[in-house]
Symmetry: D2
Subunit: 309 residues, 4 copies
């Protein structure tokens, strides 16, 4: 067994007794049904190695982690004009806060708060019907993960669409400032569907490799984004990837990462590896409690923190 | 001439025509007197190399850059209990905003906004008279820079003390929430004096080496802080080092850094180098305009971004 | 000619040269089509006297003035439990601000900001289909005005429904806090229709008489609301009837009043008269510029200010 | 015994069992020493009648009620230019909030929140030393009350000066926006002293008569302010006299009023009477609990509400 595999298993072992801790997201009824006693880790290294442990092959709702992929896609389509629609500063408040949006006249602070991801979905819709845009996103996730079995969980999408009043409020609010090009229902249709992508830790770690590898898919050799853009997406993940707990995550883990309320986190160790963890219970900031602890141990033991070994 | 020296000189050359751009801070009268047409760069590498160009030997008012040193000092005294007094999240607003302080009942968001640095100064005062605390900070700066000539510019300190109504407001506001242990005048006395430290780019780059070297002074071999604490200070610099322009700086430069309204910026390339730039004109976020551009070019050309080469 | 008729005509004459000043509301396209050069005044006294001048017989879109009538109706249905849904404090911000709504967890500050009127519409819907609720409101307006010709301008309602993204945002935001009992579309359907009521100054002044007469219709002798409730509605009009210009209106005019973006204002002189003015151009607070000036002169010349003659 | 005297005694009797309820202000140590079991009412009518009951002759700290007198004085000195320094809109937040002050660049919303009263004190200082300005205010209070025994409680002033960090913060914050003409210590010196005026209900009711009588002192026949200015001060008291409980007070009592944290309230029934109540325990908004209840009963039984009898 490789040293890294041992290290990953050690992290799992040390946290096993905490599995089930935290609070499952219940504002999307379909998510509330998930068994909290699950925990998986997958580490994909640039040389093609995969190190997995626990429930790393089980699909879960990636939710906001999908915003990393839609941002990548939208940057490919709109280029840096995207930044006229969305800022790149941390928000200093909750993921679905509407306050800052009013002060800043409908321009979201960054692409990872809900309002920002809604603006990104609007850009992806350019020239498309909602169904096509959703298809394009699924296609992109499959391409990144090299796995055509990846799909949207339509029960989750439906559940979120039916109860996501806050997101409907955000989107209409942005629309009132003239910040959306497409009908609110279309934009939110795309949004709730990409949030409902179901992936396993293994698939997610595989899909994130391009961010660890300077924009290139290190296994197939395809260029996904430019080297500079990969760096910049990483910087956004670090600054804004964990809502109002981003500073805490940077402080403790020291890796760019993006969490989702489904309990998953995708983290990037530039030049080294892409890491996915999953455990449904959330901490006070809405990020996976056991997952964040796993990343903290992992970063500590590997010395992968971007802030110094 | 070494490759790095050439690179540093190239950056200087490419920006030379921009020297003088930006707007000099004028809210501290003494600072407004500085000649805007100055620009220096100093890069100190872990192996003891120094690469300087331009006005790198000229002393300037380091202002908020001093907050990195006072944070280091206060962590040494108070340990992690410091985090019960100060948060570690980006503020999402201006450096001297009082709004968030009200919502969060007088607890500053992070140690680099003014309110946070005031809380740090309060901790350094524990068991000391103001004069002693100021002496301790000067001593620490000299120790880090290995240069006993470093001193406070008392004209600047006086000028700031006389006109810093916003800081008096912040400190009294925190006091009204019971967040300060010492008299407001003592705390602000310490604060304005450490902000008035005068250092050159060379001295500053030297002083920051411990953050690039895992907490150790690589030239003398002294441990300044633990490896973990050095990482954490770097993460705070990245998240919060440039006020409401921190996201932009991370996006463009990709290095932990701390700016001051005197036009200086200290940046850290973990495992590689400590970098100081200085040019008085400020951009819209209150950070050195030419200095930030220099760091962007430097990070790009060296591949030192922490988000991937 | 009576003294009051002369006084009303004098006010009209003194302001004639200002007719057309101010800015017509253009966020509802249908409203933007109104001829700005119109100005009417109607004063209805408790003894049945009517004093009208200018365009006092021309119907216009009463918009937010209708909130006085829906509040009256909802209080009749829900009684004082209404105040568990809506507060009664001035908002200190714009009529459609969403900020305070977030801090106060979806409970609107008062029934006259848009969010509050949406909550009131939700209460009127209890046990009704939207069509029935709208019918009941129209019926009530006709009853108050003693005029069965009063109707909704469906072009205006349609125009507002199609472009009212901010209101859709507000309603969904409240829904996300569990503050609405009915589907958002139903509630907004009722809201945009009652805002689209078309009435003349004469009809409006007649309809407001119950507020000047202690809750009784002084012409027919019907009790509309209790004496105490009439007083309370008047207090709410004074405190919150002109959005963030309520203090200015109280200061200058000194009468409870409610304005609408159509350029109308209904004002109440308790024990004396009900007054309606109309002129489409709005001032900086979104209230009729010439209309507010007319009320100021009228209050001054009649000595009807509630703050002392 | 007159009818009004009976009515006043009836109110006292009906509330007697509640004396002592509410929470005494304890942020000014000296105020916390007051015996909570006190309750007085004084009604002064325009014809010179006085109707008192309970502890109406006991002096108490009038605190913010003094802002009515300083506003009157400052308007006499500065005229309507005062409104370039202070707004006249309700604040929609707590009496000592600093948030709105930041959004509105140091201009207080109205003269009755602390920041506004500080701006008023700054105006009274024009051409004066602090001692003179304080003397002028004491003199004015004596003149209004026709009683030369009125004085400042220096223990209270000292206590407030030593612990009023929030007010020091507010004043320095305004100073940082260039909103004060005089040194912060001078302005706050005047402020804490006028807040420390000690008066009885009888003196206070007497002093407020000019506001009930169109600006004239009805007993001596002196003009204190113009008729229009008296109306306007009344409108400000109604809109802003009870901090974020102003709407509630207008709704329940329906009279212009100004409360103080010492437990006093001065209310005005235009054309009828000036009323002072006092009982130290405060309700959730920081206004006298038993005092507000007394005014509610009194307004109800006399039919003096300005919103209709």
């Amino acid at each position: 067994m490789s040293e890294l595999q041992e290290l990953v298993e050690g992290v799992y072992r040390d946290l096993k007794s905490h599995i089930g801790e935290g609070k499952i997201a219940d504002y999307i009824p379909e998510l509330a049904k998930v068994d909290p006693k699950q925990f998986g880790i997958a580490v994909a290294t640039l040389d093609g190695g995969f190190h997995v442990v626990g429930d790393a092959e089980t699909s879960f709702s990636i939710q906001s982690i999908s915003k990393v992929f839609t941002l990548t896609l939208a940057l490919g389509k709109a280029g840096d004009t995207l930044w006229t629609r969305v800022g790149r500063e941390p928000s200093g408040s909750a993921f679905n806060s509407i306050v800052q949006l009013e002060y800043e006249k409908g321009k979201p602070r960054n692409p990872f708060i809900n309002a920002g991801a809604i603006a990104v979905a609007d850009l992806i819709l350019a020239g498309h019907q909602p169904r096509e845009a959703i298809g394009e996103i699924v296609h992109f996730a499959r391409f990144l993960a090299g796995d055509d079995s990846i799909a949207i969980d339509h029960e989750v999408a439906k559940s979120e669409a039916e109860t996501g009043y806050r997101n409907i409020a955000l989107a209409n609010f942005m629309r009132s400032f003239g910040r959306l090009d497409h009908p609110v229902e279309h934009v939110l249709g795309v949004y709730v569907h990409h949030c409902a992508l179901a992936m396993s830790c293994r698939q997610l770690a595989r899909a994130g490799l391009y961010l660890a590898a300077g924009g290139n898919d290190p296994l197939l050799g395809n260029r996904v984004v430019s080297r500079e853009r990969a760096r910049r997406i990483n910087s956004l993940m670090l600054m804004c990837g964990h809502y109002d707990g981003s500073g805490d995550f940077a402080f403790r883990v020291g890796l760019p990462g993006k969490s989702g309320v489904g309990g998953g986190i995708l983290a990037v160790a530039p030049g080294k590896a892409s890491i996915a963890v999953w455990s449904p219970g959330l901490n006070e900031y809405g990020n996976s409690q056991v997952g964040a602890a796993a990343l903290e141990l992992l970063a500590h033991r590997t010395g992968w923190s971007i802030f110094g070994s």
